[in-house]
Symmetry: C2
Subunit: 338 residues, 2 copies
């Protein structure tokens, strides 16, 4: 394991310090460095708070800023933030309109965000949206078995834009509910990951193997198979997603191809190219696209493909301006662009 | 070698097709797909054209758009674009004010851009700026021995902003000349790279080794040593850069920490944190920062640190709005931000 770091135990804190230092115009540490928040809060706007283990950067801290999150809580690597961190974020960023918590569907995350919500009961109005976009576990019920993966950034973008537009807490909760069945992600890995603390790989692949249906915590996927060319991998992913979506001919969608940390951008664009053609051949209209390394699993080589239904409301909110470290877009015409 | 690709020979073309498809609002292919250009040219503005081998993405295609490049020519992996490509880009994007060519200092690139400039002599006014920011070869004269590496994106941003502001060809050439001694980059690698065509690694490091003074074409660096912690690596890089710059106490600078493709963003922020402290301890004022994966060497694990002097003019141009696939910034206050 080769990494740019000092002591493994201090890695997350040192990296966050650099992040806040580099983007000091947009963000700052919250109380006692328990979370990262916008430098300027908007009174009367619902505060959007997310968080999760470190190792998925730029998710979530990279999405703190105008048009997305108000605060993000970072735990240790692949470890949920503590209720204490989440409570501190709620207390500092709730300006009176309540807080919406966006939580990836992992037992630890769900539990700690729930504990935080209970702890502030009576003092803050809280609603929670659980993201569970991973289609790999086809049989599992969305509410229990499905993990929250790259689609989380779409939820954060769309709910963040809605909050910015003045939608209230109940409206955001309802919008989050409608999005629950609209986002579908599947991932493949060409390598496992090595966790800095332990120096151990979470799983090891042979030089000719790939892991299909992986999440973002280095856990093994659904199955392992011989590595294939990009066309074959894209067919496997896209057909699994299409079987899950129930999308109809003529439906409009956002296509996100997301790298897991160790995959170069040109490979992501190559896979985007193949996936877009496959979806379009199935009658889906790809109206918006995003290609890049956004929701990661340390330095894992691999990627995920996300297809998200874009109704008129979601399209409008996706196109709204955003100013965060990892995603910036002004009021220009986004047609066909990222 | 595991990569998301079909045939190695088609990799660059397939990836570029995906890139143009994903960012169709901003960019398009030029004639016969020989280059990527802005969708909308500005009549009377000097056209800024760059290019180089593939394998460095998002450089250069990711920087085509308002405020940076008008066109970028991509060669095969680590191979200069042909004069034919560059000539086509000149002919299509010169709207009457001439073309400025930004060329990284490699023999093949310099030769092919020169041949293109000669071929259009009398029909187009052409000036060229050679980027040679790599300080690793301390003894070498800037004009011959030093490679153009991550600092290239700073040259493209600043000259692109100047062209957008209406500076003419002679003014841009002069500005490029002034920047020549202001940008200083040094890189280290934790791995070699595997070129898809050959499937061979350009160099191989032991599990406890790093390569110091590397460029972006997988060539070996100055020397190899035992891997060290982030503080030690940063001291090595920053002291080499400071010895080269001649920067004085109180000078203002831009700090760029750039990943080579296989290094996760949190490690880049960690190194940024250490490097910023070291430079500030030397009296340099870090006014602007950029941290990310911008100028790459396929999937090489490693990074470079760039320190660039920011006089009043450069600061103003760095802050100007930009709208490209890889770099977007509106008219907000960039103080302390990226």
């Amino acid at each position: 394991m080769k990494k740019f770091m000092n002591e493994a135990a201090a890695m997350v804190a040192e990296s966050l310090e650099g992040f806040v230092s580099a983007h000091g115009g947009l963000i700052m540490f919250g109380a006692e460095r328990k979370f990262v928040r916008r430098r300027h809060l908007t009174p009367g706007k619902v505060a959007i708070i997310s968080g999760g283990g470190a190792g998925h950067e730029p998710l979530h801290v990279g999405f703190v800023g105008h048009g997305m999150l108000d605060a993000a809580c970072t735990g240790h690597i692949f470890t949920s933030p503590t209720p204490d961190q989440i409570i501190a974020a709620i207390e500092e960023t709730d300006t009176g309109a309540g807080c919406l918590l966006i939580v990836k569907n992992y037992a630890g995350d769900v539990m700690n965000f729930e504990m935080a919500a209970e702890a502030v009961l009576g003092r803050h109005r809280i609603e929670t949206v659980i993201v569970s976009d991973d289609v790999a576990a086809q049989g599992a019920a969305r509410s229990s078995g499905r993990r929250g993966v790259a689609g989380t950034l779409i939820v954060e973008k769309i709910l963040g834009a809605a909050a910015e537009a003045g939608v209230n807490l109940a409206g955001l909760k309802a919008l989050g509910g409608r999005m629950e069945t609209q986002i579908h992600t599947m991932g493949v890995a060409l390598s496992g990951v090595t966790v800095p603390d332990t120096g151990r790989a979470t799983f090891t692949l042979e030089p000719d193997e790939m892991e299909v249906g992986v999440g973002i915590h280095g856990e093994p996927g659904l199955y392992r198979q011989k590595i294939a060319d990009a066309d074959t991998i894209a067919r496997l992913i896209c057909s699994t997603i299409l079987a899950d979506t129930g999308l109809q001919n003529g439906d409009r969608a956002l296509l996100l191809v997301n790298g897991f940390g160790g995959t170069p951008t040109p490979e992501l664009y190559l896979m985007y190219n193949v996936a877009r053609r496959l979806f379009e051949a199935s009658g889906i209209r790809i109206l918006r696209s995003l290609v890049g390394t956004y929701v990661t699993s340390l330095d894992m080589a691999g990627l995920s493909v996300t297809l998200s239904l874009l109704d008129e409301e979601a399209l409008h909110l996706w196109d709204a301006p955003v100013l965060t470290a990892a995603l910036q877009r002004g009021r220009h015409d986004p047609t066909g662009g990222c």
